[in-house]
Amino acid sequence: MPAERAGYTVTMFLVDTSPSMGKTREVELPGTNGRDPEVIEMTNLEWALQYVMLKIQEMIFNGRKTDKCGVIVFGSDETKNVINEQHGGYENVVEYIPIAQPNAGTLAKLAKLVPSTVHGEPIDALIVGIETQDRFLGNKKTWTRKMVLLTDGENPMEVEDWEATAKKMNELDISLAVVGVDFDDEELPFHEENKSNIKKENEEFYHTFTSLLENGVVGNCDFALQEISRPDVRTVKSTMMPTILRLGDTQTRDEEAIELVVKTSKCTALARPKSWKRFARRQLTEKEKAEAAKMAKMDVDEEKLTFAQLRMRTEYYIDSDKNKEERAPSVDGDGTDDEEERQRAKEEAEKHYTKVEKEELVRGYKYGASFAPAPEGGFPKLQTRKGMDICGFFNRKNFRRELSMGEVYYVWADPANPMSQVALSSIVQAMYEKGVIAISRWVSRDNMDPKMGVLYPTVFKDVDCFLWVQMPFAEDVRNFPFASLETLVNKKGEIVTDHPYLPTKEQLNAMEEFVDAMDLSDAGEKDEEGNREPWFDTRLSYNPAIHRTKQALFHGAVVRDLNTHPVPPPHPELLKYFEPPRRVLKRAREAIEECKKTFNVREVPKKVVRVRKDDHVRAPDEDEDMLLLDQKGSARPGPSQSQRLTQGKSFAPSQSQPQSQSAGSLAQKKKAAQDGDDDSSATEPEDEEDEDLLLNAPRKDRAAPLPTPARSMSPDEVIDRRRAPGRIVGASFPLEDFRKNISRGDVVTKAVEDLAFVIKDVISRPFASRRFDEMLECMHELRKVALQEDEIDAWNTFIRELRDTCMEQKPGNKAFWDKVRGIGRPLSYISDTEASRQGGKSDISESEAAKFIQE
C-alpha cells in the first residue's frame, strides 16, 4: 500500500444514539495525586463518544485544512439528511455536524449528544454517510475516505441488501471501522456475559460485513480507547541541506585541495512536548455582569464561566530601587527554589518600577557595570564561508564520547552526483578501515558562527556517509577541580589506604557481583530464534513527557469536567523502561542484599542551617509568617487555591464560609487592637497586609467592595449582600443576616428595624413577586423575635407601615398584602394578650389585631 498522504481525508463518524446507548456503565478512573482509583458512572454513549472526540482532537491538534470530518447520528428523534430530503425514507438519521475542518465547537456540539427515544438503522446511516461524503468530495478523487461506526449493536437491524452497500464502499475505496461497545474481542481478551441474542447476531453481521470490505475492521470500544493513547511517533523527514566538504586551501591551491558537494540532514533532533496555552477566567465588564446576574436569576443552571486564552507580552521597566542586591532572590543550589518567595520578592520590587516603552530604549551590551553601545542589529559578525572544513584526523579510540554536545547530523554525498558519491565513499571507507575520525569546522551558511565537530565514518549496507556531532570550544569546557576518590592524602602528606571513603576488597567483590547480575544484554524479549535480546532500545523508548502531555492536552479539550473525568493513566508503553526488568532484579536479589549489607549506606538527616555568626543572617521572611497564618485560617479546604478558583462561582457561598470566619476573627482582632491603641494602623501593619491577602487575593475577580469605609474590613462586603448604608441587614440574604445579628444579642433593636426596612424595600422593587415567600418567612421570623425580645411596638409599627406601603403608595404591592392577609392572624399586630404572655406590653387589643388583618 502506498504511504498514506497526511491530510486530504474526510472521516465520517456515524454515532448510534438509540435508547440502549443510554445504558450506564462503570468506568474506573485513576486516582489523581495518589488517591485511590475512582469508579464513575457514565452512559455508553458518553463513553464511546470519547473515542470520536479523541480522534477529532487529533485532527484539531494537527490543524490540517485538508483533514475534515462530519458526524451523522442514527437513532435520533428527528430526521434530517440528504437522501431523506430528496427521496424520503432513511428515518431517524440526522446529519448532525456537516463535513468541515473540526474545531473546539465541533467537540462542544458532540458533547451535547444524548440517547434518544427511538432506535436507528446503522445501514441507513452508512448509506447516508456514503452519500454525504461523496457529494462533499465531488470530483476530489484522490481524497481518502474513512468511516467510523459507533454502536452497541443492541438493536435489531434490517440486514437486507447490505452486499450492495459493501460493494459501493469498495468502489469508492472507503475504509470502515466499527467500534462496538462491549463487542467480544479475542485479543483483548473480552467476552460479554449474558449477551443478548440480537447483539450476538449483530456482532456476527458486522464481522461478515467488514470481511467483505477491502478495508474494514470491527473492534471493541475499550480496546480502541486504549490504542488511541498509545504513543505514536511522528516521523519527520529531515530536509537535506546542501553544503560543501573541503580539505585544504581551495581558493589558492585548488589543485591539491578537495571540494565536494554534500548534503546534511538531522540524525537526531530533540523533540519537545507540545506547549500548553495559558488561560484565565475572563472578568466580566459591568454591563455583562449585570446581564449575567439577571440571567442567573432566571436560569441558574445555564450559568457559565468564560476562560480566555492569554498571550504573552513583554514589558520593560526601570528599577529605581538601589538596594536591589539586598533582596535578590536566592537560588538554592539544588534547584528547589521557592517559587512563592520569588514571586513575593518580585511584587515587593514592583513598587520601584517605572514602566518604559520599548520604542524609547537603546540597545546595547553590558560590560560589567558599564554600558557598551552596539550598532543596530548587534556587532558585525565574523566573516565566514559556508562549508565543512576538515582540520585533521585522529584515532577513533581516543574519541571522548562525553564531549558530544548536541544533535547528530548525517553528511551525505550529493545524491544526484555519482562522482561526489564515489569520492565521499572512498574517504569514509578509508577512514573506517584505518579507525580514524576527522576534526571538522562547519559553517552552515555564509557568515554564520563556525562550529567545531567530528566527522565519524559510517558504513551502511548500501551507502557510506559521515555522522557529525558538535564538539566543545575551549570556552565550553569547565574544568572544575574535584578531589581524588582514589588517592587520599592526610595532612602529613602521606597517602591513606584505609579510609571509610575507600571501598574494601569485600565491597568491591559485592559490587562486581551486582554489576554482573544487573546485566541487560540478555534481559529483553526473545527474538525469533529464541535468544534473548538486550533490554532497552532507544528506538522503542518514547519520551514520556511528550506523550503524556499530549494525552492530557487532548483529554482536557475533550471532556466536560476534569473533576469527574480525570486523565486516564499513562499508556503502559511509556513506562516500560521505568523499572529494571523483573528478570534482572530477581537474578540480582542476592547481590543487592550483599551490597546493602557491606556498603551500609545511610541517609544523612538534613542538618539545620547553622546560624552564621556575622551579620549575614538571613532576614526573617514575611512569607514564613504568612504560611503560619494560612494554617490558622483553620477551615482551609483541601484543594489548592487555584483549583478552587477553577471550580468557580457555584462554590463561592460554601467557600466564603471558612474564609469569612477567619477574616472575621482577624477583623475582630484588629478591632481589639484599635480599642487599645488608637493609631493601631501603624503598630500592626503586618496584620493588615495579611488580611488583605486573605480577603482579596482569592477573589480579585469579584466586584470591588462597596463604599462603606467603616466596615471595609468586614467579610460581608466581599460577597455583595446589598446592604444599604448604615444597615446591618442586607437585601441579598436578609434572613441570614438578621439571624446572625440576633444571635450576637446586642444589636436586636437595630436588626429588627433593619429587617423591617429591608422587607418594605424589597417588596417595593420590581420583580418582588419572586421573593414573596422569602419575605413572608422573614416576617414570621421578625414577628417571633419582636415578640420574644420585646420589640412589639416595632413590629406593630412595621406591619402598619407595610400595609400602607403595599396599598397606598406608589409603586405599592397589593399582591403581597393579599398574601399577608391570606396568612391572616399570625402576621397581624401583636396584641396585648400575646404580649403579656411573653411579659411584654402592647397597646393593640386582640380584636383590633384580628380586624386589622382582614382589611
Binding site: Q57, E315, Q343, F379, G392, P415, R478
Partner: protein
Amino acid sequence: MAPFDDWNKLDDDEEEELQDSSLYEGKRDVILFCIDCSPSMLELYEDPRFEDVQTCKLLTALEAAMQVQKRKVLVGPNDAVGIMLFNTTKRNENDEAGADLKKGTYVYQPIATVDAPKVVELMQLLDEARENPEKLAEMFPPMPDKKRVPVGDVFTSCNWVIRDGAPKTATKRIFFITDEDNPHPGAASSRLIASARTTLIDLVQAGVTVEPFFISTEEKPFDPSIFYSSVLLATNLADEDGLGEDGEGQILPESISIGQIDELLSQMRFHEVPKRALFSVPFTLAPDFTIGVKGYGLITEQKRGAYRYFADLGDRMEVVGSRTAYVDEEQETEAEKAQILFGMDLGAPSAEVEEEGGDEHKEAGAGTRSVPLGSRVFYTPDEVRSFRTLGLEPGIKLLGFKGRKELAFEDNIKHSVFIYPDEMTYSGSKRTFTALLRTMIKKKKIAIVLALTRRNSSPIFCAVLPQEEKVDESGWREPPGFHLIPLPFADDIRSAPIEKGFRASDELKEAARKWIDKLVVKNGSYPPDSYPNPALAYHNAQLEASAFREEFDSEAFEDLTEPKYDMIHKRAGQLIKAWKQAVHEDETANIVAAPVAGTKRKADVSVDEAEIRSKWEAGALNKLRVDQLKDFLKSKGEPVSGKKAELIERVSDWLQNHP
C-alpha cells in the same frame, strides 16, 4: 525575518527545560584577590616572555587579576571583583573604604561589579609597572625588616572587605596568592596558626571560600605542610566533608594550587567559574540501595552575552529590566500568575463552521472557552508539571548495565553532565560510588539509568560512562566520576533519508588512505583547548573595544579554528592531487545518473561547468536560461532563489571564488 530581539527569545516551556545555564547566571560570583606584597613578591627578574623587560611576581599576579576581570565581565557581567594587598605599609585614606582595616593590608580596588574604568585603571598600572619596574614597590611599599602581617589579620580584613562589598546571596571566594610557605617562623607560630584558623572559620561560616594559589620556585619550593595545611580547611563547608570530621577526614582540601608563577593564570582559569552543582539527587542503584550524587555541567555551550535594553536617563544609561505578562488581549487585562490555568490551543475556527454556526459559535468566540459552572476543563500548574515528570521525584535510577560498545556515536542529543558522589546526603556514598566506578571501568561497562534531575524537567534515559581518575603531565587531574549522557528517545531519532549510493573501488579507497595517513595526529584526540570559539571572541573583542571607547581592529583578529592549510598541503598536497585524479578517472564516478523512473522527462538542461565558465569569461552568462543557471547553482549547493540577475550574480561569485 523576525526582528533581532526575537531570535534569542525562548518559548516558555523550553525555558523550563533549558535551565542548566541559567543556574550559572542566576547567582553572582564575587572574587577578592588577596595578594602578598612582601619583598620577595616584588623582587625583579627578567620577564621570560619579553626581552629586556623586568617583572615581578606581584606584577604577574595583578596581571592575572586583570585577565580574570576581563573574562569575568564577559562570562558573568554581574560578577564582582576586588583586590586587596597585604604585607604593605600602604594604608587606605580615612575617607575611603577599607580605612579601618588591619594594619598591613590595603584595598586597591574594593569589591564592585567589574566595569570598564576599573579594568582600565589596572591596565594602566600594569603598563606603568612594565616601563618602570620600581613603580609597584613605590606604590605598595613592602613592610620593612621582613615583618609580616599575621595571616589571621589578613583573613579578618578579607572578611570586612567582603562584608562591605558583596551581595549576600553571591558565592564569595578569596583568591589567596603568596609565595611564603612559612609566614610565621619562631616562637609565636602556634598561636598565630590558631588565630589564622579561627579567623578562617569565621570566613567559612560567612559563606566565603578561600582558594589558595601558592607560588613555588625552584630555589624556594612551597611546602604547604609547614604552615598552611594546619590552617586551611576543606574547601567548602556545605559541599564537602565539613568541619565536624576533623578526626577522620584528615585530607587536604582539594583546591590548593601550587605552581610556578607563570602558571598562575592558567590555574586561575580552572577556578574562574565557581564550582556549582546543577543538582543534588539520590542515585538509586537498587531498591533500598541509594547513594547521593551531585551533577556538574562540565560541558556547556558558552554563548555570547545577551544584549540588553538601556534607557537614556540623560546623565547615564540605565539598564532596563523586562517582565513577561500574560494578557487577555481582547479585554486588555493582565492575568495574575496564580490564576493562570493550562489547556490546549483552541485553534482557529474554520471558515465552514463559522458560516453555519449560530449564536453558539459566536458566544464561544475565538480564544475563549465557556464551561458550565462548577466544572473544570483546565489544568493547574502542578498538574501540568506532573504530566511532564510523570509523578517522579528528582533522582537517578539504575536500570542495568551494558557493554561499553553499546553506546553508539549517534545516540546523542544533548551535552553530558558529570556526577560525583555526595557524602553529605548519604554517608557511604563515596565508597559505593568508587566501587561502582572501578568495577565498571574494569568490566568495560556502561549503565543505563532513568534520570529526573530537576523538579521541573522531564525524565530522560541516560547512558552512564565511567571516567577513570588520571593525572596528566601538566598536573591536571582528570576527575573521577560518571558522565551522564542523555540518550535520544524514539521521538528524537530520524531515519536516514538515503539508503543507496555509489561506492568507491578499493583503488580509490587506497588513494584516499594515503593522504589520510599523512594527516592523522598521532595519539591525538579532539583538543577543545586548541579551539577557542572565534565568533564569541570576535564579538567580545568588539564589546571590549566599545566599552573602552576604542576602535576595533578586525584585521588583528585571528581565527584559530581555521584549518592549518600550509601544514595540510605540505604533508598531503601531492597525495590529494593524485586521489583527485583517480576520482576523475574512475568509471563509477562518471556514470550519468539515470533519470528516476516514472518522473516526467525534462528536456536536458544540464550544461557543463566548463561551458558556463567560458560563458562567464566571455561575459555572456545572460545567454543561459534560468533553469540552466539554477541547475548549476543547485549542483554547487548554492541557493536558487531570486530573479535571473541575482542568479547570474551568484554564478559569477561562485566562479570567481572557484578558479
